[in-house]
């Protein structure tokens, strides 16, 4: 009886979850989303810059 309880406790603790991401009402997920949106727009700007440069070089 005691052994099964101990086992279940151990098992519970063993399962690793991204708990920090779910802490504070999953607020961290919002930060990840905002960061990825900003990063994406910046990458897009870089790609646009490269495309314009290619057009300029063609002349």
């Amino acid at each position: 009886m005691l052994l099964t309880l101990l086992m279940s406790l151990l098992l519970q603790n063993d399962v690793e979850m991204a708990d920090s991401l779910r802490a504070d009402g999953k607020f961290w997920v919002v930060i990840l989303v905002m960061a990825s949106v900003t990063t994406g727009i910046m990458i897009y700007l870089f790609m646009l810059d490269r495309k314009v440069r290619k057009l300029e070089d063609k002349k």
Partner: protein, 222 residues
Amino acid sequence: MTLKNTWWKALGALLLIYVSIAGLIGEVPRLPILNETIRNTYFHVPLWFGMMTLMTVSMVKSFQYLRKGDIDLDHSAFSHAHVALLFGVLGFVSGAVWGNYTWGSPLPIDPKIIAVEVGMLIYSAYFILRGSFEDEQKKARLSAIFNIFAYAAFMPLVWILPRVTESLHPGNGGNPAFGKYDMDNLMKLVFYPAVIGWILIGLWISNLKQRIQKLVYDKQNT
């Protein structure tokens, strides 16, 4: 892509990514009414700083155009004013959202808001003026003169007039700038990078706009 031309673009991008994270998780002062919306200082105010910088660059380019007559300078003045107006609209919209929840109205009767409305109309006239000319040199010369006057009208409207009267905006009606925000040193660690980041990104987008403008112009005139 050479490092010489790219580093400031990368710096602007990194600063904005930093601000989008640190602006949300950083510690902020606990103030009544404002509550968590004090974080909008990182996202709303830098847009105006970016806009002012772009308008200044645009005005300088118009001045240089009048002196040298190089059509590239006119493209530059146009592009910077164009992105400045975009930033202005974004600042206006974000300010309306913020004001709705803190001042109780999206567009309260506030001297700074009215001044910006008038100022943006003046700048809109710049684009209408440009659209009404066929001849490139005539268009460039007249709109350059208008651009300098628009700048000379806009800056006192936004910086001086709201300070003479009562205003909801901090830094107006005799208040020292940012006094009401109670910006502590932790906030400055996010706010200043946000200002620099938005200025750099604004310059970058204007730079792209200007280069596309030049490509289109060259294609039409060959």
